[in-house]
Subunit: 174 residues, 2 copies
DNA sequence: TAGAACGTTTAGTTCGAACTAAACAAAGTA
DNA sequence: TACTTTGTTTAGTTCGAACTAAACGTTCTA
């Protein structure tokens, strides 16, 4: 490959890796996506291994996560046992997938946790000496819960908007 | 403290810690914020040490970051050498602060990195054999750059909206 | 000036996420 | 059936972020 393209490619992959690590994903995940994103043809697992320079095992686990998040897509060719991957190019869709995933897992649990704390306080029979403190707890927890609920709705809205865009609008050609 | 309040408190702090680690911040950072958030009175550094159960050094560094992000506020009492901290209760403001901070640092660099790659490709004098590949690179990089720019604007908009809300609207009482 | 009361900084340690190497499973081919 | 080619899983390792312990600097007080 030409020197300029190689430089651009390496610089790009480094940049993507920065982003992924920054948002709490493995560095290799970004590098793998970068390689696939800048490939005109779908890449096989071994090609990715060769291009990115990590072992097969690492590529295997990382690419499974990438696919789960909808960031890359597996392509199966008839009469070829290899799996190929290409990149999702609709980045809003990618964000949607990641939000949905995080929503489902950790974020949800956090919301639930605050709700539980609030329930405990509400259903407690407070010592008169701690009445003020109990009310304070209730107020603070309620306030945070409201915020989380708003955030939850915001995320749901974003997802819904994108669903609308890619669903209904897509039929008429974006 | 009553058993119920203690349970609620511990459950809450655990939940907040989950959130912070999930979003790439230290666990102790969440615990410290949780303790301050559920305290009616501002807490001193030593009180935090005692309540959260980490060393003074850790609290010192973590709380500095919390303050830099606008998540807690330092309170100085006259005639008292201790620093006290209370919690910011406007969570949208907190998000704004974090976005602004991240914007300033890593995210910016990532955007720049993609821009640089694009510049390299655009200013390259491509080998005729690689003309197609060069065009492909240019298209993909341009597409990603557009997305980043949109995201950048979105964040700026969110920040602007909150500035408006807390600035102009605040004068009339929210 | 000595000592106490703070918060900060630093050297060293811990701990877990992400990697490698290699065994493994599955599925095709000779 | 044995061998090859593929992707997955697992045991072990690495490495860096975040912690502890302790020294340190500063400021107030006696």
């Amino acid at each position: 490959m030409g020197q300029d393209l190689t430089t651009a490619r390496e610089n790009f992959i480094q940049g993507i890796s920065r982003i992924t690590t920054f948002w709490g994903f493995p560095k290799a995940m970004g590098a793998i996506f970068g390689a696939i994103y800048l490939s005109p043809a779908p890449l096989s697992l071994d090609e990715i291994v060769q291009q990115v320079g990590v072992t097969k095992g690492a590529v295997s686990t990382n690419i499974r996560n990438l696919e789960r998040l909808g960031v890359v897509h597996k392509i199966i060719k008839m009469g070829d046992r290899k799996d190929y991957y290409n990149a999702e190019t609709d980045f809003w869709k990618i964000i949607k997938g990641i939000l949905r995933e995080r929503e489902k897992n950790e974020f949800d649990r956090a919301i639930k946790s605050v709700g539980e704390s609030l329930d405990i306080v509400r259903s407690s029979d407070p010592d008169p000496a701690e009445k003020d403190l109990t009310l304070f707890y209730e107020e603070r927890l309620k306030s945070l819960k409201q915020f989380f609920d708003s955030l939850d709705k915001l995320v749901a809205t974003i997802i819904a908007i994108d669903d609308l865009r890619s669903g209904v609008l897509g039929k008429f050609g974006k």
